[in-house]
């Protein structure tokens, strides 16, 4: 490429002409020691907590600890280029990140700088990374559903827009998968998605971005990455940075969902910072304010009142447990902050139950109000039935003879758990979910062999879309299941079952 030299020269000339010479007034300090992402600075006597400071190469830091004779600064960048004796200047501003539509579809670091090689982020607005959560009068109760596209969740622990629903479980139990499916399912809903990867392997994140791109979900998704090799201060602020971006959309009256993957790693990063700053360690060596660290983050998720535009920000924090230990410090903290949790268990996962949700202890405290009425009707007793089934199943393993009623309940349970299995990246529309669960709970699957449930569901939904689209549209429009619809549903199911099971008969012959 050949550049127009004179054009460039004219731009430079204009810039110099417009430059207003002013005496540069700044408050400075000197780096006493630096390492592990933090610096101890002498001077900066008037700096305020959380204020940005600048190191010689333009690296930004945050005043984190104000002490009698020194300031502890966390360095948001490569701390290896900062040296002892360097001049540090205070900027007099708080940390902010670019927000708005410019960040959608981008992969950014926690400071809002691009990592995807698509050029600078041309954002017109910025927003403070740390800001106050909306107060009581600025909110309204959660009332609209946020469809995850996952049957087990939408039926039993429904999530509403503005809710905070924790996804908790051991490693490799499909926590991230729930977040990803939720993002993919927002394709036609207008909900913008934010995925915050904290302390994860870069290769995992790269794979995930590729997956989202393939599914066409990157158009409305922003990914903030503070990988395992990034400096700890970046891992600590990443959730707040993502939150600021999602919050901006909320205050504009839009809907957003943000996935913090995961907050236990952020807590570990915060613990490291605090210990290096010599703050006193508390339980599990976490600092005393680690609860506040998470509560102030999650409180920022809200459903705003109509006067403020009625926007919402749904948070799906992820917490990793060790050996199923939910009574550890961080899990109990985050469980108590959020409006419910989805608990994933390794034994269910390896038994092929995916998502490996433990129905008994997964709850959604506010989502019920937001659930689609049709779903509420068909999935009403599902949670309790399944919990009862799990108990019964354990009992049945003793090998005792069972009466017919118990056997029937067991059979129904086997079929329901089979029906609730769902593959990765296969989110279902809520009406499809209603149809499946209706068939399951009303006994239409009792005749179908357990191993053919999956096949049955696929062909049934195909059948409805091909032949009974008007019924589907009716449920979608009304969001209700009234007697008329029940009657026609039963009719459709009878018709379909006849062909489906009949086919099996012919196959057997």
């Amino acid at each position: 490429m050949k550049f127009k030299a004179d054009e460039i020269a004219s731009v430079i000339k204009k810039e110099i002409e417009n430059y207003q010479s002013q005496v540069d007034v700044r408050q400075v300090g000197r780096v006493l020691e630096v390492g592990d992402g933090i610096a101890r600075v002498y001077g900066l006597s008037d700096v305020m907590a959380g204020e940005m400071v600048e190191f010689p190469d333009g690296i930004i830091g945050l005043a984190f600890n104000l002490e009698q004779n020194s300031v502890g600064v966390i360095i948001l960048g490569d701390f290896l280029t900062v040296n002892e004796g360097d001049e540090v200047r205070s900027i007099g501003k708080l940390l902010s990140v670019p927000v708005g539509n410019a960040v959608l579809g981008r992969v950014l670091d926690p400071l809002g700088q691009p990592l995807d090689g698509l050029g600078p982020v041309n954002a017109e607005e910025t927003r403070l990374v740390e800001s106050m959560a909306p107060g009581v009068s600025e909110r309204q109760p959660v009332k609209e559903p946020l469809q995850t596209g996952i049957k087990a969740i939408d039926a039993m622990t429904p999530i509403g827009r503005g809710q905070r629903e924790l996804i908790i479980g051991d490693r490799k139990t499909g926590k991230t998968a729930i977040g990803i499916d939720t993002i993919i399912n927002q394709r036609d809903t207008g909900v913008k998605c934010f995925y915050i990867a904290v302390g994860q392997k870069e290769s995992t994140v790269a794979g995930l971005i590729e997956l989202l791109r393939k599914e066409g979900a990157m158009d409305y998704t922003t990914i903030i990455v503070a990988g395992a090799s990034d400096p700890v201060p970046l891992q600590y602020i990443a959730p707040y940075a993502g939150c600021a971006m999602a919050e901006h959309l909320m205050y504009e009256g839009q809907h957003s969902v943000i996935i913090y993957d995961d907050l236990s790693k952020q807590a570990v990063a915060y613990r490291q910072l605090s210990l290096l700053m010599r703050r006193p360690p508390g339980r599990e060596a976490y600092p005393g304010d680690v609860f506040y660290c998470h509560s102030r983050l999650l409180e920022r998720s809200a459903k705003l009142s109509d006067e403020l535009g009625g926007g919402s920000m749904t948070a799906l924090p992820i917490v990793e447990t060790l050996e199923g230990e939910v009574s550890a410090y961080i899990p109990t903290n985050v469980i108590s902050i959020t409006d419910g949790q989805i608990y994933l268990q390794p034994d269910l996962f390896f038994a092929g139950q995916r998502p490996a949700m433990n129905v008994g202890i997964s709850v959604s405290r506010v989502g019920g109000a937001a659930q689609v009425p049709a779903m509420k009707k068909v999935a009403g007793g599902l949670r309790l039935d399944l919990a009862a089934f799990r108990e019964l199943e354990a009992f049945a393993q003793l090998g005792t003879d069972l009466d017919a009623a118990t056997q029937a309940r067991l059979d129904r349970g086997y079929r329901m758990t089979e029906l609730l299995k769902q593959g990765l990246c296969r989110p279902l529309h809520v009406v499809d979910q209603v149809l499946s669960i209706y068939a399951g709970t009303r006994g239409w699957l009792d005749e179908v062999p357990v191993e053919r449930i999956h096949e049955w569901e696929g062909s049934f939904l195909e059948f409805v879309h091909a032949n009974k689209q008007e019924l589907w549209d009716k449920i979608d429009e009304k969001k209700q299941i009234d007697d008329g619809i029940v009657a026609s549903l039963d009719e459709v199911l009878t018709e379909f079952n006849k062909t489906f099971l009949g086919k099996e008969d012919t196959a057997a012959v």
């Binding site: 490429m1 540069d24 300090g29 002498y42 001077g43 006597s45 002490e67």
Partner: protein, 217 residues
């Protein structure tokens, strides 16, 4: 050997004012020193003794400083040394001060205490240290004019120290405590550069063709 190293470190640290712990300890002793001197109404005498101790004794006989700072030598011995060396010339009060330091094992912080005492005294007297950095040596009249211009901001009697740094290219830099008033050419050039980058990034990104020939390469 280890203690000697430690003593040297403390010395070095005190000189380069970088150990926060030493700094904090020195603060306490400096305040006590000035308070006692003020009560006895002999601040200037005491300060003079202190200055002379640092410049005439410690600077000239670094061995003595090592001995005083060393933890290997007992308090009694140190007090004996101080008595024999300084009794004739120093006031009893100053000698007592040194003995207190010795008993508390803080003689290694002597230089830091000295500096803090001066800082504290300057503060008490409303004096403000101003450092004026220029690219070329300037005469007193010009320096006074520069300092006069910021007198209102600093709110005190300026005590000016001057230094020369050719890297500034032009202009001058005034340092008052933690504040830096930077009117140097080098900073202005850097600011122009930063501003240009910030402003042009969008333009270059959105209108790349403006800088390119239409017909291509």
């Amino acid at each position: 050997m280890g203690d000697e190293n430690k003593a040297q470190d403390a010395h070095y640290v005190a000189e380069r004012e970088i150990d926060i712990t030493v700094e904090r300890i020195a603060d306490v002793y400096a305040e006590a020193f000035l308070g006692a001197a003020k009560n006895a109404d002999c601040v200037d005498d005491m300060l003079e003794s202190f200055d002379s101790l640092v410049s005439d004794v410690l600077d000239r006989f670094p061995e003595l400083e090592k001995i005083l700072a060393s933890a290997l030598i007992s308090t009694e011995e140190k007090e004996g040394i101080l008595d024999r060396v300084l009794r004739a010339e120093s006031s009893p009060m100053f000698l007592n001060f040194l003995k207190v330091l010795s008993r508390h094992g803080r003689l290694d912080c002597l230089r830091a205490i000295h500096r803090q005492t001066h800082d504290l005294y300057d503060e008490m007297m409303g004096r403000v240290n101003v450092e004026l950095v220029t690219p070329v040596p300037i005469d007193d009249a010009l320096a006074d004019r520069v300092v006069d211009s910021i007198k209102a901001i600093i709110g005190g009697v300026p005590v000016v120290s001057r230094s020369v740094d050719p890297e500034l290219i032009g202009g001058a830099v005034l340092k008052v405590g933690d504040m830096v008033y930077d009117g140097s050419v080098v900073t202005q050039l850097q600011n122009v550069r930063k501003q240009m980058i910030n402003r042009s990034v969008n333009e270059i990104q959105s209108r790349r063709d403006r800088f390119r020939y239409k017909e291509g390469n």
